[in-house]
């Protein structure tokens, strides 16, 4: 059996949860088994995960607030109770806090941050993940009985294959929390970078934080999330959670628009998995053009407002 941990934020599922359930259902099919989903704490309409291929949804009550030890114990406990040998979760901030604990708890091989469905041969699973910050792929064989896989965001399309299913409560022994959550602060109404399908990013070519309107206007017109290069976050022109690249957030959106960014190797490392890359730069020799699908050689202060107008015109058709 495949067990998927579907995370809910404030009781609601986000795209990452639908992606992991889709992934779990497809993996189960390849293994000739079923996929069940696990939710932790209070979740609205948990049975809805059936639409993405879970044949059943389990819920374990956990106290409010995230503690990696409690969550890992709950997921490992469910895997043992249900005899699920393959466990799938998201490679997001929650997942990264849990995957290692879960693998250690189950003495399992783990593949963190995979990008595609596993190859199955007998009992063996081989999964592909990016390594060297997106500069290469590695095929990882998981050699143990229990197998833990965490899926990178935007790696597989969400697919609906069923309808809502029953939710059953499960109880497992849980340790007490060692971490006390004091406060959670999130920018409201914006798709977080790792989940965003459309991203508009600005670099030093913007010259100063007061000029960011050309980036945010374009992002608003597209419904995109904004990002930036590292020097821009270093001097606090933009918040540091917008910093993408090797030492920032690694992203793989459908569309990445980079304006006033030269395309240094460390920047490319975090964005070169994007499906389509558009580069706007006034320097035709900027290295970013080598990694781009579409290039515009020009002054971003003229090009971006023109692009924003063209997007608005396209959307009003």
């Amino acid at each position: 059996m495949v067990l998927v941990f579907a995370e809910a934020t404030n009781g609601k599922f986000k795209k990452a949860a639908h992606e992991v359930v889709t992934y779990g259902a497809k993996t189960a099919k390849a293994l000739g088994t079923t996929c069940v989903a696990l939710t932790l704490g209070t979740v609205e309409n948990a049975g809805d995960l059936g639409r993405f291929g879970a044949t059943k949804v389990y819920n374990i009550a956990v106290s409010n607030g995230f503690d990696s030890g409690v969550f890992a114990a709950a997921i490992a406990g469910a895997a043992k109770a249900l005899d699920a040998k393959v466990i799938v979760l998201s490679h997001n901030s929650t997942g990264k806090n849990i995957t290692g604990r879960l693998a250690a708890r189950l003495d399992a091989g783990s593949a963190p941050g995979v990008n595609s469905l596993p190859e199955v041969s007998g009992d063996k699973l081989t999964v592909r993940k990016t390594v060297f910050s997106g500069k290469a792929f590695a095929d990882v064989e998981i050699l143990t009985d229990y197998k833990v896989i965490s899926l990178s965001g935007n790696s597989i399309p969400v697919e609906e294959s069923g309808s809502a299913v029953d939710v059953e409560t499960l109880s497992v022994d849980l340790p007490s929390a060692k971490v006390k959550v004091l406060e959670t602060k999130r920018a409201e109404g914006i798709t977080p970078l790792p989940e965003a399908e459309l991203v508009v990013s600005g670099g030093r070519g913007l010259k100063g934080p007061e000029n960011w309107g050309v980036i945010t206007d374009l992002a608003d017109a597209l419904g995109a999330t904004t990002a930036c290069s590292r020097p821009v976050a270093d001097v606090n022109w933009r918040p540091h959670h917008e910093h993408v690249g090797q030492t920032g957030v690694a992203i793989r959106p459908n569309l990445y628009i980079a304006a006033g960014i030269s395309g240094a190797i460390q920047h490319l490392a975090g964005v070169n998995s994007s499906k389509t890359i558009v580069v706007v730069n006034k320097d035709p020799e900027a290295p970013f053009f080598k990694a781009a699908d579409y290039g515009v050689v020009g002054d971003l202060f003229e090009v971006l407002p023109r692009l924003t107008a063209a997007i608005k015109a396209h959307k009003s058709l």
């Binding site: 503690d67 050699l143 959670t184």
Partner: protein, 244 residues
């Protein structure tokens, strides 16, 4: 406070990745190695700041072969007091975590970088915490100690979460935690005399193995669009790339 900083050795960030002829490994000829930036800039420097503020010791640990000593000496030059190298190679994340856990008894705080820039796993810290039954805070961008209690800020999608933990605990450090320090001459000289204890690995088996590597497909040449004609770019994004 007794602090342990776990450091890894990775290819330098500008490395152009090439593979061996049979795709079984990275072609390591000519590759320069560094201390994993997250381990060095954030985990190690924050530990040193805490020691400077309220005393204690900072020990570095690396699991790897003798050629990793250069990276370990750099950590000592930046300011760590002593180092442990578990003399083992490969084995994967859980193997490495078990080696670290076997040496980590008695520390109040164990610091990791948020991930290594080679395998991008982000899991060894959480593994060690689980093996030692400790609290763990991943991708921490801020840490304040107040006696045995810590306030830690961790990065979450589109924001942060502030948590409270008590020692002993483990964390992985992200940008914001500290600022990079360049070792000075005195530090480099002193590092040569600081203890670097080499220890044999404990028994553990590999749980994963990498069967092959592949490079991403080469990008086809960029399509240039007239800067005056953004309607054309929108058309291409809609009809050709199908992303809007």
């Amino acid at each position: 406070m007794k602090m342990l900083v776990c450091v890894s050795k990775t290819p330098e960030t500008t490395t152009k990745i090439q593979l061996t002829a049979d795709n079984s490994d990275l072609d390591r000829s000519g590759v320069n190695y560094i201390m994993n930036p997250y381990d060095e800039w954030y985990a190690l420097v924050r530990a040193l700041e805490l020691k400077e503020a309220s005393g204690g010791t900072v020990t570095i640990i690396n699991v790897g072969p003798a050629e990793n000593d250069a990276v370990i000496r750099k950590g000592l030059a930046i300011g760590a007091d002593d180092a442990i190298r578990v003399n083992a190679e490969g084995g994967g994340s859980l193997y490495i975590a078990k080696q670290i856990a076997a040496q980590a008894a008695g520390y109040d705080l164990i610091l990791f970088g948020k991930e290594t820039i080679d395998y991008n796993g982000s899991e060894v810290g959480a593994m060690v915490a689980e093996l030692l039954d400790m609290a763990y805070v991943g991708e921490a961008s801020h840490l304040e100690m107040n006696g045995t209690t810590a306030t830690v800020t961790r990065d979450i999608e589109g924001g942060v979460e502030v948590v409270e933990v008590s020692t002993p605990f483990a964390l992985s450090a992200a940008k914001g935690m500290a600022e990079q320090r360049i070792p000075n001459m005195r530090g480099i000289m002193m590092a040569k005399r600081k203890p670097l204890n080499v220890i044999d690995p404990v028994e553990a088996t590999a749980t994963t193995s990498i069967s092959s590597y592949e490079l991403p497909p080469a990008k086809s040449a960029v399509k240039l669009v007239d800067p005056e004609d953004m309607t054309e770019l929108v058309r291409l994004l809609h009809e050709e790339a199908k992303v809007i």
